[in-house]
Symmetry: C2
Subunit: 410 residues, 2 copies
C-alpha cells in the first residue's frame, strides 16, 4: 500500500491534538490549531514543499511547477473540527493532497502547474460562528466584519489572531488572483451512507446542495393540562409535532433529490409536564442539489404548515434565515476526475454533496471539483464513530494523484 496505512497513522496522530480529553475537538486559533498546524507544516516540508502559516492561520504549502507563468492547482480541506468530531472530516483532504505531492517529489516529478496544498484554518465555524473562514479568504469572500466577532469567552477573532501570531489586517492579500488559479480540487469523506450502501470507494461530486433554513415560531394558547378539554385546545407543541412530520414527509416524497430536517425544537421556557404549551419554535433545514426542487419543496411545505396552523388555531411565524443556492461542479473537471477513477479500475458514481465544503467558496470563479471518499459505520460523521478504511484512503489518494498529474486546462 503506497498511501493508505500512512494516512491512517497521520489521522490518528492529528486526533491527539484535541481540546477535549475524550474525542476530538479542535477549533480555530487554539493551542491545538497550532499543534496540528505544526504537524502539517512538517509533513509538507518533508514532502518537498515550502510551507508556512498565512496571516489568518491557514497552513499553506507550495510545490513549484516547471512553468513559472502557469496558474496553480490548489488542493486541500480544513484542519479544524466540530465538537466531538471524527478524525477524517477535513483532515483527510489535507493529508491526501500532501501525500500526492510527496509521491511526486519522491519520484522527482515536477508538473507544469505549481501545486498549492492548503489546510484551511476554520471551516466548521465553531468558535466564532462563521463558517469557511480560511477558504473565504483565499477565494475572495472574507468579510472583515468577522474580525470583531466574539467567541463564547468574549475574545474577538482579531484578538485571538494576534495571540496566535497572525495578522488580522493582512487578510486582503490572501485572496488568490483568479487568473493565477487553474482549479480547486478537494477530497473529503462523504459524511453520509450513499457510497457505503452502494459499494463505491469514491465518488465524483456533481453539486454541493443548496440549502434553505427557516425558523418557525408558533403561538397557541397555554393551559392547564388537567383542566382544558381536548377538543378546542390550541396546543402549540402538538401543532409543531404535526408540522415536524410534514417536514419529514416533504423530504420522503422527494427522497431522490431533497432532504428535509427539523433539528431544533424548543418549548417556550422549557415547558412543564402539566402545562399545554403556548409557544414552540423549531428549525427546518431543506437541501437539494437541484434549486428548483428545493424551491418547490419549500413552497409545498409552507402551504402545509399554514394549513396545520390554521386548522389548529395557532399563529405561525415563518422566518427564513439562510438560503444558499446549489454550487454545481465544473463539468470538465468532473470528467477529468471520472477519468482518474476509471484509470484506477473503478466504476464512476456521481453524487451530490448534502453538506457544505470549502470547495463552495471557490466554485463561483474557479473550476472546482470534489472527490468523495466512502464513510464507514453507516455514514456517521461529526461523531467519534466516523470511520474510513486504509484501502479507501489508498484508492482516493491514487485517484487524486492521477487527477493532479494528468490535469489539463479546459
Amino acid at each position: 500500500m503506497r498511501f493508505g496505512n500512512r494516512l491512517m497513522q497521520q489521522a490518528e496522530d492529528l486526533s491527539q491534538f484535541s481540546q477535549s480529553e475524550i474525542g476530538l475537538t479542535r477549533t480555530y486559533l487554539t493551542a491545538q490549531h497550532r499543534q496540528a498546524g505544526d504537524y502539517l507544516l512538517a509533513l509538507m516540508r518533508e514532502a518537498g514543499m515550502q510551507a508556512d502559516y498565512d496571516a489568518l492561520g491557514n497552513v499553506v504549502g507550495h510545490y513549484a511547477g516547471t512553468d513559472p507563468d502557469a496558474p496553480a492547482i490548489i488542493s486541500g480541506s480544513h484542519m479544524d473540527s466540530v465538537v466531538n468530531a471524527g478524525k477524517y472530516d477535513g483532515l483527510f483532504g489535507v493529508l491526501s493532497a500532501i501525500a500526492c505531492v510527496r509521491d511526486l517529489h519522491e519520484r522527482g516529478i515536477k508538473l507544469a502547474f505549481p501545486l498549492e496544498v492548503v489546510a484551511f484554518c476554520d471551516e466548521e465555524g465553531v468558535r466564532f460562528n462563521v463558517t469557511m473562514i480560511g477558504s473565504a479568504a483565499l477565494s475572495g469572500h472574507f468579510d472583515p466584519a468577522w474580525l470583531t466577532r466574539m467567541d463564547a469567552e468574549g475574545i474577538s477573532m482579531s484578538e485571538a489572531l494576534l495571540a496566535f501570531g497572525g495578522d488580522p489586517a493582512a487578510w486582503g492579500p490572501l485572496r488568490r488572483e483568479v487568473k493565477r488559479v487553474a482549479c480547486f480540487i478537494e477530497s473529503h469523506i462523504e459524511q453520509g451512507p450513499v457510497l457505503l450502501n452502494e459499494g463505491y470507494a469514491v465518488g465524483v461530486v456533481t453539486a454541493i446542495a443548496g440549502c434553505t433554513r427557516v425558523k418557525i415560531s408558533l403561538a397557541g394558547l397555554a393551559g392547564h393540562a388537567g383542566t382544558v378539554p381536548m377538543p378546542g385546545r390550541r396546543d402549540a407543541l402538538a401543532a409543531a409535532a404535526e408540522m415536524t412530520l410534514a417536514v419529514e414527509r416533504v423530504g420522503l416524497e422527494r427522497a431522490d433529490r431533497v432532504v428535509a430536517t427539523v433539528g431544533k425544537f424548543e418549548v417556550a421556557e422549557g415547558g412543564a409536564v402539566n402545562v399545554i404549551a403556548g409557544a414552540v419554535s423549531f428549525t427546518i433545514d431543506l437541501r437539494s442539489g437541484d434549486d428548483a426542487a428545493r424551491h418547490e419543496a419549500l413552497q409545498t411545505l409552507r402551504a402545509a404548515l399554514a394549513e396545520i396552523a390554521q386548522r389548529r388555531g395557532v399563529t405561525l411565524d415563518w422566518q427564513q434565515f439562510y438560503a444558499l443556492d446549489a454550487a454545481p461542479r465544473d463539468a470538465g473537471l468532473q470528467m477529468q476526475l471520472a477519468q482518474a477513477i476509471t484509470h484506477c479500475g473503478l466504476e464512476v458514481r456521481h453524487l451530490p454533496s448534502g453538506a457544505g465544503h470549502d470547495a463552495m467558496q471557490f466554485a463561483a470563479a474557479t473550476p472546482t471539483a470534489m472527490l468523495f471518499v466512502r464513510c464507514g459505520n453507516g455514514g456517521i460523521s461529526h461523531n467519534p464513530l466516523e470511520t474510513m478504511t486504509a484501502d479507501d484512503a489508498e484508492t482516493a489518494t491514487r485517484v487524486l494523484l492521477h487527477f493532479i498529474e494528468h490535469f489539463t486546462l479546459n
Copy 2:
C-alpha cells in the same frame, strides 16, 4: 349584590401582595405571605371569627357552633400562588368561605356545627417543590422530611418557618382528628372552560382526576441533516413528533373522560439546525376522573408508542414517575351541594376536576366536596388573564352559604 362586588374588591386588594412587580406571585413564608395572611386575619375577625396563624403559616379562623360536641365543617382553599398567577385561584375559596361566616354572623346565626375557615399556606409548591403542604398537615399527610427541603436560595423550609415566626416542630398537632371533622368543602375557580362553554356559573365536582405521568426518552441515530438520505433515517425528533400526536389522539378519542398532554419536549443538547436529532425526551400527562379509563388509555398509548419506536428504529425508555388515583367526591355531599345550587335557582352541572386541589388531601378520611366557579377568558388560569365575574362570585357564595347553613351529617 350581597357578596360579589366585595369579593372582587378583596381579590383585587390581595393581588397587591406580590413578589413580582408585574402580575401576582406569592409563595410560601415570604413577606407577601405575611401581608396576605394579615389581610385575611382581619377579614376573619371582622366576620366574627377567632383567627390566627398556625405553626406552619396556615391562617385559620373559628366560628363556634351551638353544639360543643359537634364535628366541624372546614372550608377554605389556598392563599399562595404560582409564578405570574391569576387573582382567584385558591383565594376565592378562602374569601367566599369568610363571606359566608360574615353573613351568618351579621344575621346572628350560629350553626350546630362549628365552622373552620382555612387559608392554606402552600398548595402550589413553588418554593420548596412540595404541593399542598397546608392541607396535608391538617388532614394528616404532612411528611416531616419536607422540613429539610431547600428553596432555590438554599434556605430550608425549617429555617424559613422559624424566620416567619412559625414552629417547624409543631406540625403534628395540626392534624384534625377525623371524628372532629364533619366535612370539607372547597369552592374554587374551575381553571378550565367547561362551565364557561356550557353557560353554567357553578358546578359540582364529581371527582378529582387521577393522573399518570411518564417520561419518554428516545435514542435514534444522530446524523448530518444534509448528507443522510431520508429513507433509513432514525430521527429521534420525528419519532417524538409522531408519538406526541399519538398522545393527543388517545386523548381526543376519549375526550369525554380523558385528557392527555405532552408538555415538555427536549432535544438532547438543544439540537442544531443541521443535525438529525439522536436523542429526544418528552413528558406525558394523562388524567381521568375514571381510573379504569386512565389505565386503558395508558395501555393503548404504550402500545402505540412501542409500535412507532420499532417502526422508526429508535429505542424507547418509558419511565412512569407519578401516578395518583382519582379522588371521588362524597356522593351524599354532592347531593347536598346540588340541592344548594337548585335552591339558588340554577341547573346543576356535574364535572370532574382535572387539576389537583387541597380537597384531595381530606378525601380519604372525610366527606369532601368541591364547588367549581366559572372561569372567564376561555378558561385561562395560572395566568394574569384569569377572570371571574362579580355575578359568579355572588352565585357561588350564595350556594356555598346555603350548603353550609343546611348541611346535615349523612
